[in-house]
Subunit: 479 residues, 2 copies
């Protein structure tokens, strides 16, 4: 068994060093690799297949709400980036600049898109003339670049993959409704597919997107008690429209500015899956997002009939609509178990000569290690059932973890004690002033995650300054 | 009818000016738009939906052959690009250079990938150790940048979308087999899905990919008689492996170099669809690739019951698995017909009060304008049949056009006359010397498209120099 243990022993335990555990899992589950391009990553097949499933699910949900996909250039001329003042201030310090095309210097340098509001505005300016052209509800799947100083696979890298939706509407109400609608699409996706519970809310002015009137966010809690911003949706009002002069002729023949939104979700969600569901044996993938849902592992596969039966089982499971692989390599069963566990494949089916003789197989759940003996001919229904249960229980466990790591502070003293000793969300009242928010970050070491839609009144006064409280805020340490 | 005619009259006829016709169709069918980013394009929803279908079809065919998708960085450090001598010579003059990250100059400049051989080599060097790690059969969907001087939507632009497959194998034979296999995937895809017949062959040394041992190509013929390189597949032998030191320990415990391939297909295929199938009313999309296959157009839709019936028909068609839209806008039927034709939607269903009374509807084929009256309840099967016929006939028509525009030259005189007066492919014998190939380009104005796999002997001597002929070559003017 020495060899079998090696794979698992090669990862640090999460209790010992969560950051190192994360890095180890990413590497051992073969999700990414480092490259010669500093701060960028290679997304390997096991990682990219998760992203493909995220894309498929999100894209379907987008299209059900009327979204159409487009593709805009990856470059932004400097003059275009500079048109909206807040936006350029937010992004200029972290973009990559292209200065030469072929052997010649460019007349105007261009950045590689960090986000594409300015390009969509430039496009909409020419594409929108009349109220008949509205709304525009476009999205693109692409990569973007932000010149980060410190990077971590999936969580923060100089290039990452995402989708960015950009919409234009006739009225402020319609834009606001779309902003909220897309936030809800993200939240439902996280909970239903990734089994990650989220808090829906609004960002404070300090934390909102550069150029936005309002930024909405879903915030999730990782296993170590740190928060992760998991998807954002911005309402720009007519700010960008005024900077770019995007006007339409309304029914009454007057020219009006459009109202815009944008919203995005990124490969960072793969990091969230790892940090919410993973354990000391590696990755644990929620069945709905897992590229492979079932690994069939034969025991004593050299014995006559075992591999044939394993192949039969695999075929029957695939036919029933499951995503299935068979590990018929020459490794030992124990090593195969470790690999399947490291890669987070939701269930394995163990199948040996004795099982076959009895007409049975053993289903093992990745998350609980529960072993379920089932008749071979009932495997398709039984496994579908196990996967459904697992999906539901993974969400419940993550929610329970989130709830037991959500604290309430009424006094500054309490606030400090929780922030120092109990990793998680802290709910506390806030007066709405940025001075208090800055001071809380500085003194207490937590940032505002969001002003949740679901408000409560824990106290009448701001936890920091004692002046009348305006909002309940979720605070925390964030990735 | 004046208004109805406007949409079609706004495009130049292809007989008058093919290039202008192409530009007009791209614009009026709303496939792309210009942007402030010189040489780049916006791909609008109608264009991007075609690309999504191309992706879906190709990706499925790739995965059936064992391809796995990955994602590598978009930047290539200059030192990495320079490792393979021929490769850097081919690409360095046309790359975009990033020199600054954020506010600081980079220590080493990086180009935006024009293609990713060097990045895959850098990755494989670390990822491949033993024969057990082989083969690697990876692909990525991404955008690439080549700093072209003159650009045209889809056909040649500074940024374009594509897929690039990169594989590594233990033996030369396996690499060669994969190179040919992927060329055949492209060829089958073009013929079966895009209804574009292709010539399969090998590029001459002059025309092959920078760094390749052999480049295979599929060449198609546009309506104006110009050729379009539609997909290429390269065998690198162990050239890149030696430059990047990609070695594996074989079963006999000796270190060996891997053998590599790469292969790509791009958004340029949307240009091919336009130029092979389009007519003077606009785009004509082969049913298998059309994002919308059927447009239901009600006649006298204000009359009671018409819209209800149209919606019923739409629902029944969607249920049968077709991709269907209903145009219930307030435009006149004639205008709707023109729009549906301009956008190349394969069939429309006309449905008016009289049709409904008779229990009928009229199916109109986009390519032949043939009108077929069918009972409303039989529409799903009838339309499926019409679409199948249309798909098959579009390929047959394109093949007939290609064949009648493929000429044979045995003397230099004939060669010149055909090249001057008859746009199309010219088959002629060649000695294999680049001097003749250069001279033919210079004097006769055609380039070698490919050395077809299906060889014939038209003569014993080279059409240019009269020395013994080695190959039959397809020549032509190309996009």
């Amino acid at each position: 068994m020495a060899k079998e243990k090696k794979l698992v022993e090669s990862i640090t335990s999460m209790e010992e060093d969560f950051a190192q555990w994360y890095t180890d899992v990413v590497k051992k589950a073969e999700l990414t690799d480092y490259t010669s391009v500093k701060g960028c990553m290679v997304i390997k097949p096991a990682g990219y297949a998760i992203w493909e499933n995220i894309q498929k699910e999100l894209d379907r949900r987008f299209k059900e709400t009327g979204v159409e996909n487009v593709y805009l250039p990856m470059f932004i001329p400097e003059s275009l980036l500079q048109k909206e003042k807040d936006h350029v201030e937010g992004f200029a310090p972290e973009v990559a600049w292209v200065t030469h095309g072929g052997l010649e210097p460019l007349q105007e340098r261009m950045c590689v898109r960090p986000t594409s509001e300015t390009l969509f505005c430039d496009f909409y300016k020419n594409d929108i003339h009349s109220y008949r052209d509205l709304p525009k509800v476009y999205n693109q799947w692409c990569s973007v670049v932000r010149w980060e100083k410190t990077t971590r696979p999936f969580l923060r890298s100089r290039e990452f993959l995402w989708q960015e939706g950009h919409t234009a509407h006739a009225t402020a109400e319609e834009a606001e409704a779309r902003t909220i609608q897309m936030l809800n699409v993200y939240a439902d996706f996280c909970e239903e597919v990734l089994a990650i519970p989220v808090i829906r809310g609004r960002k404070t002015d300090k934390e909102k997107f550069a150029g936005a009137e309002a930024t909405y966010t879903i915030e999730s809690l990782m296993h170590d008690g740190k928060a992760l911003q998991s998807g954002t949706s911005h309402n720009f009002g007519d700010g960008f429209a005024k900077a770019f002069e995007i006007q339409y002729a309304d029914k009454d023949n007057t020219l009006k500015y459009v109202h815009q939104t944008s919203w995005g979700m990124t490969t960072r969600m793969i990091g969230a899956i790892i940090m919410v569901h993973g354990d000391n044996s590696g990755l644990v993938l929620p069945p709905r997002i897992a590229p492979t849902q079932v690994m069939v592992i034969p025991i004593r596969q050299q014995q006559e009939g075992v591999l044939d039966k394993a192949n039969e089982v695999k075929a029957a499971l695939i036919k029933s609509g499951l995503r299935v692989k068979l590990d018929d390599s020459e490794k030992s069963p124990g090593w195969k178990f470790s690999e399947q566990e490291m890669r987070g494949i939701p269930v394995r089916v163990e199948l040996g000569p004795k099982d076959i003789e009895a007409g049975n197989a053993v289903i093992v759940r990745r998350d609980t290690r529960e072993k379920i003996t089932a008749a071979i001919e009932e495997l398709p229904e039984k496994i579908a059932e196990v996967l459904d249960t697992m999906q539901r229980e993974m969400l419940e466990r993550a929610r329970a973890h989130r709830d037991t790591h959500t604290y309430t502070a009424v006094t500054k003293e309490e606030f400090k004690q929780i922030a120092d000793g109990k990793p998680g969300f802290i709910k506390a009242m806030w007066c709405g002033c940025q001075e208090c928010e800055d001071a809380i970050k500085e003194e207490i070491g937590v940032t505002s995650r969001c002003i949740p839609f679901q408000q409560e009144t824990l106290a009448d006064t701001c936890i920091y300054c004692g002046k009348p409280a305006k909002h309940l805020v979720y605070w925390g340490k964030a990735y």
